[in-house]
């Protein structure tokens, strides 16, 4: 299978600070690949290196089979980039944002007009085409940024925290657009600190922490490898002493406000806990998620 991105022992440091500490990554054509990790894990630095706007400090990196250090412009011509913060051109209208961006890729004016019309529809911004950019809602700006990144029909689309700061409805609308791209055969690389986003969108992902890769696999693989089928969450009043329940579960995680009991049968464990006379404020049995994988791997929760 063809790899669109290949990194070996890739590092990035800013002065004495090491943002990326030697990671190996392969992204295959047609897949949706995720970097999951908390803020400061080195995801964005990695993305910037892949999008050829930041040089690597060490290791090897190939994007679309080329060296970003030498063929940056050539690679960027075939990439779509959605940055963490929208950087739309506020001096242009919605439509002009798409058209002029196409011109930066050297597309003809005619082609830019056609592409802009097509993408306005894709982003569901047709009725705002000739409006200013500034008054658009967060979700609309995000969709426009994604539409803009598609202007050159990229083979590889890089999305850095695509839904951070959006309300649930806007997020789902955006995920729907990304699914559609995936079906059209566009390779996606997504960074996120939302586990639901990673589970929804990614075929394969790496969990990053402190500039290193902690684990790699599909969401379901990671969950079965690093967690149990179910989780029993017991919530206790703030400051209360939490009972020792180690013997009832495969593993127990102690969080400030609750206990997480990892087991293959949550209800069964809950019944046993009740037998012991333990009375949590609240109890919940749920399936394991990537959040649990992350907790297991790093000892910390993903979202603060």
């Amino acid at each position: 299978m063809e790899n669109l991105v290949e990194a070996k022992a890739l590092t990035k440091h800013f002065g004495a600070f090491e943002a990326v500490r030697g990671i190996d990554v392969e992204v295959r054509r047609g897949e949706a690949f995720g970097f999951l990790g908390p803020n400061g894990a080195g995801k964005s630095s990695t993305m910037r290196m892949i999008s050829c706007v930041s040089g690597r400090s060490g290791g090897e990196l190939k994007v679309l089979g080329m060296d970003p250090g030498r063929d940056g412009p050539k690679i960027r011509a075939r990439l779509g980039v959605v940055p963490q913060l929208d950087n739309l051109d506020t001096e242009l209208t919605v439509r002009q944002n798409l058209q002029i961006y196409g011109r930066y890729f050297g597309m003809s004016r005619q082609r830019c007009r056609e592409k802009a019309a097509e993408l306005l529809e894709f982003a569901q911004l047709g009725d705002r085409a000739d409006h200013e950019v500034e008054p658009l809602s967060g979700g609309m700006k995000r969709r426009l940024t994604i539409a803009r990144s598609l202007v050159n029909d990229p083979e590889l689309l890089l999305l850095d925290e695509p839904t951070t700061g959006l309300d649930p409805q806007a997020r789902h609308l955006l995920w729907d657009r990304l699914f559609r791209l995936k079906q059209d055969g566009v390779t996606l690389i997504i960074t996120t600190h939302y586990m639901d986003e990673a589970e929804q969108l990614c075929d394969r992902l790496v969990v990053m922490d402190g500039g290193r890769i902690a684990a790699e696999g599909s969401p379901s693989e990671l969950i079965s490898r690093y967690s149990t089928k179910e989780v029993l969450e017991l919530r206790f009043p703030p400051g209360a002493r939490k009972p020792d329940l180690e013997r009832f579960a495969d593993r127990v995680e102690v969080l400030p406000d609750r206990l997480l009991l990892y087991t293959h049968d949550g209800e069964h464990v809950l019944a046993k806990v009740h037998e012991q006379g333990v009375q949590p404020v609240q109890s919940l049995v749920r399936r394991s998620s990537l959040e649990d994988v992350f907790l297991r791997l790093t000892g910390r929760t993903l979202v603060d």
Binding site: V53, G69, R70, A77, D89, F105, N152
Partner: protein, 281 residues
Amino acid sequence: MTQTLDRAGQAKPASVGLLWRVIPPGLYGGRAGMLVERSVVVNRRAWFVLIGGAFEPMLFLWSLGLGFGQMVSSVAGPDGRPISYAAFVAPALLAASAMNGAVYDATFNVFFKFKYVKLYDAMLTTPMGPMDIAIGEISWALLRGGLYSAGFLAVMLGMGLIVSPWALLALPVALLVAFAFAAVGMAATTFMRSWRDFDLVQLAVLPLFLFSTTFYPLSVYPGWLQVVVSWTPLYHAIELMRGLTLGVVGWGALGHVAYFAVLAAVGTVVAARRLGKLLLD
């Protein structure tokens, strides 16, 4: 114009061999023209602001040349022959307006786009590089400055202040002067941290405007100050312009041209490299 823009878009990196040695590969995508096109689209809606800028030097000309000129019967021209005060001050205002326009575009406007709109970050995710940005922004400053200079020259012609065919060269010279100031201004902008630093731009530009023999000849200064003034850029621009519009042109003019060519080249390279460093860390 459409054609020139398209040609710029197709320029291959190979055609800039000399540049290649100074600018590391990957910094230039050969698409600077697209940035100029963007500026045209943006300013199409604000054309009255553009036109407005052309009036500033004309107001100075009418106030000083016509008003103040009444009190000064005549001044010694570049070759010693007496000329009207308006004819003396007009070419200087032409040079100064080339400087002002270029500096404004390349400092305030560039800083705004760089720091707040993050325009250049967005551009760098396309095949464009920092060199395209530097050349594109400087070219736009030039086009705008050229427009003002052409308008001002037309007014000078109408007022009978142009007496030599050499004045035909005043427009390209105004462009060169604007290029140099824009390039140096943009290079300086890459070192600015906040709007407060722009007071320094004013601090540099205003004394240049006032003291570079704009309003009176160099001979009013004591000897040592004459030497200082004769090193400043606007002085060279004014000398060139006066020579051209009054038809007093010697080999020394080439020296002035070389001065600006060097400023332009150094400014562009420094601006592109600094942008690369700031945006592509």
